[in-house]
């Protein structure tokens, strides 16, 4: 498959999913439902482009769900306290950036594997969200939230405009900014990136930080749509965002992907949930479908990337650890299986 064709793959999947649902789900192929999906998908799309940035470095962020809960609570508390929408956005994005920075510091500078670092954050942020909110939803948000959650502009939900702007910005960032190009370089071949003078640790740090900040922004939209800050928000968000990014053509091994593709992937995931719902499938079986979708998405990609090469579980330093059992063979094959 040529590169150009491969990049168009997400659109193809989107079209197939749409055509598959149109005849079986009553009310699916209507303009109203399209707007509905757009509003539902908006926050997921924002989280997905953040997740995509981390995936491109060859990492994972499984803390996005908990961080979304923490930031939605932080933003809502700030809005209730000050009555100002801007302060809520600021609080949520800042809180998300701090969580992301902690992840990025642990992965980039301390050499902790992405799974462990973001797992720790997953537990920490969930606890913090419940603690801050007193385990109850934060209510009494200013009216601006309602207009963000359910308002429309030119027939398109306001939240979708925000998501569109974020995706466009991130795509531009990826194409033009040296930092973002460094992200792809680090994910593609870390040694080559370092030898070419790419600041590997800093790049990882920035990727996780940006992901956290974007989750904070998405959390404001979640708060707007629920008209409250829910400390239990975001279960399964890591699964959805990773599935969306993979469907959108972002390589799990790192080093490849487009932001607009990831966003299209988010639309596919959201459309799937919406379509299955309208088709009358039990919500529990939708979880089953979500899992199978993720596997299928990976299966589609597999032809292009051998997955055992995924670097998500190893930072370079950890991989070079002395391994007594494998020593004789290692001397023959070299320490690094990819060398």
């Amino acid at each position: 498959m040529t590169r150009r064709l491969r990049e168009l793959m997400p659109l193809f999947i989107l079209a197939v999913a749409y055509l598959a649902f149109a005849p079986v789900s009553p009310g699916f192929a209507t303009a109203a439902n399209a707007a509905n999906i757009a509003g539902q998908v908006a926050p997921l799309a924002i989280v997905t482009v953040g997740q995509a940035l981390v995936l491109m470095t060859g990492g994972f962020d499984i803390s996005v769900g908990s961080v979304a809960a923490l930031t939605t609570v932080a933003g809502s508390l700030s809005a209730v306290a000050t009555g100002s929408f801007a302060s809520a956005v600021l609080a949520a994005v800042l809180a998300g950036a701090v969580c992301g920075a902690a992840n990025g510091f642990a992965v980039g500078y301390l050499g902790v594997q992405p799974v462990v670092a973001t797992l720790g954050m997953l537990m920490f942020a969930r606890g913090a969200a419940l603690l801050l909110s007193g385990s109850a939803p934060v209510v009494g948000l200013p009216d601006t939230f309602v207009s963000l959650g359910y308002g429309e502009w030119l027939g398109v939900p306001a939240a979708a405009w925000v998501a569109l702007a974020v995706v466009a910005l991130m795509e531009a960032f990826l194409v033009w900014s040296p930092t973002a190009r460094a992200v792809l370089a680090v994910g593609g071949n870390e040694t080559a990136a370092r030898l070419n003078g790419v600041p590997v640790r800093w790049t990882r740090f920035v990727a996780y930080l940006v992901c956290g900040a974007l989750v904070g922004l998405a959390a404001i939209i979640y708060a707007a749509r629920a008209n409250s800050g829910q400390p239990t928000l975001g279960e399964g968000l890591e699964l959805d965002s990773i599935a969306a990014a993979v469907i959108g053509g972002v390589s799990l091994a790192g080093g490849r992907g487009r932001m607009w593709g990831a966003a299209v992937g988010a639309v596919v995931v959201g459309m799937l949930a919406n379509g299955l719902n309208l088709a009358g499938l039990s919500p529990f079986l939708q979880d089953v479908a979500a899992g199978i979708t993720l596997l299928l998405a990976v299966w589609l990609q597999r032809a292009r990337t051998p997955f055992w090469r995924s670097r998500a579980f190893s930072t370079r330093d950890a991989r070079r650890e002395v391994r007594p059992l494998a020593l004789p063979a290692e001397r023959l094959a070299g320490n690094d299986e990819r060398s």
């Binding site: 499984i62 642990a106 301390l110 050499g111 902790v112 462990v116 670092a117 797992l119 720790g120 954050m121 997953l122 537990m123 920490f124 942020a125 969930r126 606890g127 419940l130 603690l131 385990s135 399964g236 890591e238 699964l239 990773i242 039990s282 529990f284 079986l285 939708q286 979880d287 089953v288 979500a290 899992g291 199978i292 993720l294 596997l295 990976v298 299966w299 597999r302 997955f307 055992w308 995924s310 579980f313 190893s314 950890a318 070079r320 650890e321 002395v322 391994r323 007594p324 059992l325 494998a326 063979a329 290692e330 001397r331 023959l332 094959a333 070299g334 320490n335 690094d336 299986e337 060398s339």
Partner: protein, 320 residues
């Protein structure tokens, strides 16, 4: 000698937690509470043993949390239909079957274990909720509670069960060919392949055994709460990975002793109990555990970097 010091570290951490907690709150040292620590660590320990088998091969299993929920539902339904023993067996078999699915995907189809098990996390939860219509199934036979809440004299049955699981996993990992193969695969997959290890088959069986152990943990849990619940212990997989990592086993695979996972599980169990005794809320406990996992692994990475330095200077050492 350095290796012995490193392997002693987790036990010193347990001692440290115990001493600090006892100094603030002497009630911690009451025999009843110490037995409590063991009883609460038992399930996590079994899940950590399962995780170890997978981690030494360089893979990871994030599905245990929803898998124990599915296991608890199946196990209680089976126990209601045909008795306690059938319930226990059905639970372990469900775990093994789920492990087989993971093992096929990871071993044969080369899907990354992260993705395969995150997907399993999703559909195992969906199935668990679906078979009970989203609500718990209750009222298994009275004898069903023996494994999770019974006592053998003064010793709780779950502690004995966890020791049994330890022995089983120990033999498999350190005395049987499968364990050797898994360690070799985790150390250097290509080398394992070249020396004649059937990588796909070994990974498959590693996941099956791990799944069966998770099934066993699920049965212990179901027996403890005397019901099958779709939301039984959602963070179990994360805590198990945490226990393995705190015990000092590198998640990159290739090395690890089962006793390290035991120590890791005991650290988490002791810490959780200590925080409870010291009157911290469950939310704060969760935050502390999250932070501790990351710091423990960061310390471990720093330690192994320090240990490695002389080896790097050795002439003739290959590497990039």
């Amino acid at each position: 000698m350095r290796r012995r010091e490193a392997s002693l570290a987790p036990w010193l951490v347990i001692l440290l937690i115990a001493v600090v907690t006892a100094a603030i709150e002497p009630r911690f040292l009451q025999p009843g509470n110490l037995v409590n620590v063991l009883r609460h660590s038992a399930v996590l320990a079994v899940a950590a043993f399962a995780q170890t088998l997978v981690v030494v091969a360089g893979e990871i299993d994030l599905a245990a949390g929803s898998l124990v929920a599915l296991v608890s539902m199946v196990s209680v339904l089976a126990a209601k239909a045909s008795g306690t023993l059938a319930g226990y067996a059905a639970g372990v078999l469900t775990g093994a079957a789920a492990g087989a699915v993971n093992g096929l995907l990871v071993g044969r189809f080369q899907v990354s274990s992260f993705i395969a098990t995150v997907a399993m996390m999703s559909y195992a939860y969906g199935l668990a909720a679906y078979i009970g219509g989203g609500v718990p199934v209750e009222f298994p036979p009275d004898t069903f509670g023996w494994l999770g809440a019974g006592y053998l004299g003064p010793v709780p049955v779950p502690v004995v069960a966890a020791l049994g699981a330890f022995a089983f996993a120990y033999v498999l990992l350190h005395r049987a060919a499968l364990g050797r193969k898994l360690l070799l695969i985790g150390g250097n997959r290509r080398a394992a392949q070249l020396s004649g290890v059937d990588v796909a088959r070994s990974v498959f069986w590693g996941f099956v055994v791990a799944g069966a152990l998770v099934g066993f943990a699920g049965v212990m849990l179901a027996s403890k709460v005397h019901s099958g619940q779709p939301n039984l212990y959602p963070t179990l997989a994360f805590e198990a990975v945490g226990a393995v990592a705190i015990g000092g086993i590198p998640l990159t695979g290739g090395s690890g002793r089962l006793v390290q996972s035991l120590a890791g599980a005991l650290i988490m169990g002791t810490l959780e109990n200590a925080l409870t005794v010291l009157n911290f809320t469950s939310q704060v406990q969760q935050m502390v555990m999250g932070a501790v996992i990351v710091f423990a692994v960061a310390a471990n990475v720093a330690l192994s970097r320090g240990l490695r330095r002389p080896a790097e200077a050795r002439p003739g050492a290959l590497g990039t």
